[in-house]
């Protein structure tokens, strides 16, 4: 602002209509910038997810307890989500179900992302044949309807936790693998990487020093954005009866059982677990999107 004092009379604001001049002042007053918003959102999202996970751990017992003296209660203070026809606390069941979903999501998404990373890098660095094979494989998996493949793998692996995790993991890696392949191919053409090679640097050095810092953000964001998909698909196949077994209070099971009672007016059985599922998914999604914005240099200055 020093210069402004030198020519006070001439400093006319031309583009006053839009954000130009007044925003400049505004920016300094408004210390609250985009990045801070993102950090706060991240903390809220992670806090919520952590609470669900920890809650699920403590609700393990409570979710299974049946008590016919309190069956079919609508939501009230002691049972915020109501109880079902066996007198089970829906709140405990929902939290427990969600925590199972999150664990499955984390496992499947991590597995899937690691697979995507390896295949993407192989495809981009191991020559044309490897690239052709991997690309063909990606197209193949993408070509089959998602749900169908998921159900097939899940059933083939004998349903249950293992089946669901494997099924979700084996169907979700394609888009991330394609992204990483493209990124590596592009990086390989960069002048600074070619120069590093001519400076006698080993492939390992180039990979660690030049490639990883570019790929890591992409990878982390891809990983986080895989969670919501994994969770939704887990609940869908469980809902359809191909996933987890009925004893487990998974969200898919809760929802499919609730369907039978919906017509009798017990709306709370499906509503709250459904909302909680959506909340969880949205949480992961915003976390991922915000991380992307934080790490992506193109949108850093927003």
């Amino acid at each position: 602002m020093k210069e402004a004092a030198t020519f006070p009379e001439k400093r006319l604001d031309v583009y006053t209509e839009k954000n130009f001049a007044e925003n400049e002042e505004g920016y300094r007053k408004k210390k609250w910038n985009r990045r801070k918003t993102i950090i706060v959102l991240l903390i809220v999202a992670i806090g919520f997810l952590a609470a669900v996970c920890i809650g699920g751990f403590f609700c393990k017992e409570a979710a299974q307890v049946t008590d016919f003296s309190r069956k079919n209660l609508p939501p009230c203070l002691s049972y915020p989500f109501g109880t079902d026809w066996l007198g089970r606390d829906m709140f405990a069941r929902t939290v427990r179900g969600l925590s199972i979903s999150i664990i499955i999501g984390v496992c499947a998404a991590t597995f899937s992302a690691v697979m995507a990373f390896i295949l993407g890098v192989v495809s981009a660095t191991m020559g044309k044949t490897a690239d052709a094979v991997v690309t063909w494989f990606i197209d193949l998996v993408m070509g089959i309807p998602h749900m169908l493949l998921l159900i097939l793998i899940c059933v083939a692996c004998g349903r249950g936790l293992k089946g669901v995790i494997l099924g979700v993991a084996l169907t979700h890696w394609t888009s991330l693998a394609r992204l990483i392949r493209g990124e590596v191919l592009q990086l390989k053409e960069q002048i600074y990487i070619k120069t590093a090679k001519k400076l006698g640097k080993s492939n390992l050095y180039i990979a660690m020093k030049h490639m990883v810092p570019h790929l890591l953000p992409q990878f982390i964001v891809g990983l986080v954005l895989l969670f919501p998909h994994a969770i939704l698909h887990e609940s869908s196949i469980t809902f359809l009866g191909f996933g987890l077994s009925n004893e487990q209070p998974a969200i898919g099971i809760i929802l499919s059982e609730a369907m039978k009672y919906l017509v009798t007016g017990k709306w709370w059985l499906a509503l709250f677990p459904g909302i909680m599922l959506i909340l969880t998914v949205v949480c992961f999604f915003t976390t991922g999107e915000n991380l992307r914005m934080l790490l992506d240099p193109a949108s850093v200055h927003e």
């Binding site: 960069q190 002048i191 600074y192 990487i193 070619k194 120069t195 590093a196 001519k198 400076l199 006698g200 640097k201 020093k209 030049h210 810092p213 570019h214 240099p297």
Partner: protein, 202 residues
Amino acid sequence: MILETRNLSFRYENKGRQILEQFSLQADSNERVGIAAPSGFGKTTLCKLLAGYEQPETGEILLDGKPLQSYKGYCPVQMIWQHPEQAVNPRLRMKSVLEEGDQIDPKLMEKLGIEPDWLNRFPTELSGGELQRFCIARALGKRTRFLLADEISTMLDLITQSQIWHFLIEETQKRGIGMIVVSHDAELVERVCTRVVRMNKQ
């Protein structure tokens, strides 16, 4: 040391335009060879071939009689690019950029006017002229024998251009590093080079 090309031909892709045809050139360690040619003649391509970034379709590139490809590891022929901002990793601090070179003499920084403070910055926090100084320092490693300069001062202001060229002439002369200089500026080439080669289309 002698850097030479014999009957070099090159084109991108299989059916692409022939960029170089039967091109031969010989350069000695103690000369600075300027290359003058109209645009679209493949001056940049020639540099890339000479530094081993591209492989020729036919013909050979020899350094001291041995094919350039036979030099493993650090390439004794280093290239400086026109756009320094593309030649450094935007996510690395300038310190790391310099470390990539081959045991860079700290005195070089001083001679190039690189301030110690710049070493802790990222490339986006420096101007083009400042970045180009880093790229030059990086290319002047201990084992460098030939330097290729592809329009390295085109995007810089005249004073920076003069600074950089005075430095390069002195440094390469002292260390016996040969240079091949590509520039569209005939007066600059005249000033800087000991010999000028004109490429003409057959």
